[in-house]
């Protein structure tokens, strides 16, 4: 498949698309992991301090 | 009606007092118009060609930057809460404050523009067109800016965010204002066409602005 005299621009355009989409996907996945970790962390610490509000000392 | 008149008078008095910021806008306008020749060079022919555009840009920026004053004082001393819970419809209150704001900050820009036009080597007709378009367009900027000012109340440290938020809706006003002001300089369109559209934009914003701003104030302050 010959891309003609302006091949560089076509490749650059598709590369930009791949790049932006990749960034979006990475962001969504990384954010998901971060929130899951934060939730797990809070639940591990959770029990006392959260729902009951009872004094710990 | 009395209540609205009272608000109008009070806002004007506050704005015109020392620290009220009414004339600072004019100073900023002057500063911008002075800066641009420094950047572009003293070529009078060039300045005359882009003069109306420079005046419009200066007025637009001066208007945008003065916006957070609209509700800031009232929010600070608590009278905004009273206005929100009062019996006068919030939309009317907000609209009246916008009128007062324009009288104090927008109108001075219009009055000063002929003087600045002379600095930019504009001829009498161009100055007249520019002043007229500013007179019709600056109210549009104020009323469009109402929602930005209302957001400023909700966001304490908005900073430059508000002018940026108001910029897109202000673009049509700029386009048609400059096109009308440029009639003699560029000669691409008769004055009437962009001018009537500018009038339409102003009327439209006078209606939409208060409603959007009132909604923002109500929802944003909960």
């Amino acid at each position: 498949m010959s891309l003609g005299p302006h091949a560089d621009f076509i490749v650059a355009a598709y590369a930009a698309a791949v790049g932006v989409v990749a960034l979006l996907v990475i962001w969504v996945i990384a954010d998901y992991r971060r929130q899951r970790r934060a939730l797990a962390d809070l639940e591990a610490r959770g029990g006392r301090g959260i729902a009951t509000g009872a004094p710990t000392t | 009606m009395d209540a609205l008149a009272a608000i109008l008078v009070r806002d004007l008095r506050v704005a015109l007092r020392v620290g009220g910021g009414a004339l600072v806008g004019v100073l900023f306008f002057l500063a911008v118009v002075t800066l641009i020749p420094f950047a572009l060079g003293p070529d009078l022919a060039l300045l005359r060609r882009i003069g109306p555009a420079i005046l419009w840009l200066g007025a637009l920026l001066a208007s945008l930057l003065a916006l957070d004053r609209l509700f800031a004082d009232d929010q600070a001393d608590g009278s905004l809460d009273i206005l929100l819970t009062g019996s006068v419809p919030l939309e009317l209150v907000v609209g009246t404050k916008a009128v007062a704001h324009w009288l104090a900050t927008g109108l001075p820009l219009v009055i000063v523009s002929p003087l600045l036009g002379l600095m930019l080597n504009l001829d009498a007709r161009s100055i007249a067109f520019t002043a007229l378009t500013l007179a019709v367009g600056t109210p549009a900027l104020t009323f469009i800016g109402l929602i930005g000012a209302a957001l400023a109340v909700a966001i304490r440290r908005g900073g430059l965010l508000l002018p940026i938020l108001i910029l897109p809706p202000a673009i049509p006003v700029l386009i048609f204002g400059v096109a009308a002001a440029n009639t003699d300089v560029v000669g691409a369109v008769p004055f009437g066409t962009p001018f009537t559209i500018l009038c339409a934009l102003t009327l439209f914003s006078i209606v939409i602005g208060p409603f959007a701003a009132a909604a923002t104030l109500r929802h944003g302050l909960e």
């Binding site: 891309l3 003609g4 005299p5 302006h6 621009f9 650059a12 355009a13 598709y14 930009a16 698309a17 932006v20 989409v21 960034l23 979006l24 969504v28 996945i29 954010d31 998901y32 929130q35 934060a38 939730l39 809070l42 610490r45 959770g46 006392r48 301090g49 959260i50 009951t52 509000g53 009872a54 004094p55 710990t56 000392t57 | 929602i147 909700a154 966001i155 440290r157 965010l161 940026i164 938020l165 910029l167 897109p168 809706p169 673009i171 049509p172 386009i175 048609f176 096109a179 691409a188 369109v189 559209i197 934009l201 439209f204 939409i208 959007a212 909604a215 923002t216 929802h219 944003g220 909960e222």
Partner: protein, 252 residues
């Protein structure tokens, strides 16, 4: 801030977990078909192979406007119908819409360089899209500036609706301005009608990008719901710690 408030979002989380794999698969399949079709597409009579850029540029331009329309519906959902997930939908759509708008601008300028000789042309379409990009960034900035999610939601919703009302005005103004300043007419895509050999790949790529948006949107909404849970739990924990501290202090 009782846990009951999280009930509806919980149902969404379960739904999201079930739907996401299907949407991911559908997106991958659509892109696979689309890319094959774009590779096989014939060169345009006037533009040569650079018409292939259009297969990315046009779907992104369409999506940039569709996403704002979606955000406007979500804004109505927040303000008028008070749907609990409406503002989440609006908030998550904004960065995606901004990304599509950005891609439309970049591919448009890469298309413009060989066609018109410069990377940026102030033609009506590109300029309107640039203004739209500014609007997206503005809404995103607003979400990040207000800390409380429900207040941010209402402010952003109003801003979105004001933006929606202004979009046709801005488009009209920029069109008008452009005819004023550029007497030479700008090249239309592919002539008076688009041949099916170009139209089909275009539509498939449009569907692929739309599926991508839906997939990312569902995933992002899931993340946002989790984020708000984390915030709520942290606030509760801080409150409880404070209560415990004052009681301990009072006893000591």
């Amino acid at each position: 801030m009782s846990l009951i408030d999280l009930a509806n979002p919980t149902r969404f989380l379960k739904l999201a977990a079930r739907l996401l794999p299907w949407f991911v698969a559908a997106t991958l399949v659509a892109f696979a078909c689309g890319l094959v079709l774009t590779m096989l597409a014939p060169d345009d009579y006037q533009q040569g192979a650079t018409v292939k850029i259009m297969f990315i540029h046009v779907p992104n331009a369409w999506l940039s406007m569709l996403v704002w329309a979606l955000m406007s519906v979500a804004a109505l959902g927040t303000l008028v119908w008070r749907h609990p997930l409406a503002d989440v939908a609006g908030k998550c759509a904004a960065p995606l819409g901004a990304a599509f708008t950005f891609l439309a601008l970049v591919t448009g300028s890469l298309w413009g360089r060989p066609m018109w000789g410069t990377y940026w042309v102030w033609d009506a379409r590109l300029t309107s899209v640039l203004v739209l990009f500014l609007m997206y960034l503005g809404v995103i900035a607003l979400w990040r500036t207000v800390e409380d999610p429900s207040r941010a939601a209402r402010a952003a919703a109003i801003l979105t609706l004001v933006g929606a009302i202004n979009l046709p005005i801005i488009k009209f103004s920029v069109d008008w301005w452009n005819t004023l300043h550029q007497p030479t007419s700008v090249f239309r895509v592919g002539g008076p009608s688009i041949d099916s050999s170009i139209l089909v790949p275009l539509l498939v790529m449009a569907i692929a990008f739309a599926l991508l948006f839906i997939t990312l949107h569902i995933a992002a909404m899931r993340n946002e719901i989790l984020r708000r849970r984390v915030r709520t739990l942290r606030l509760l924990a801080a409150q409880a710690a404070q209560v415990a501290d004052t009681r301990a202090g009072a006893r000591a």
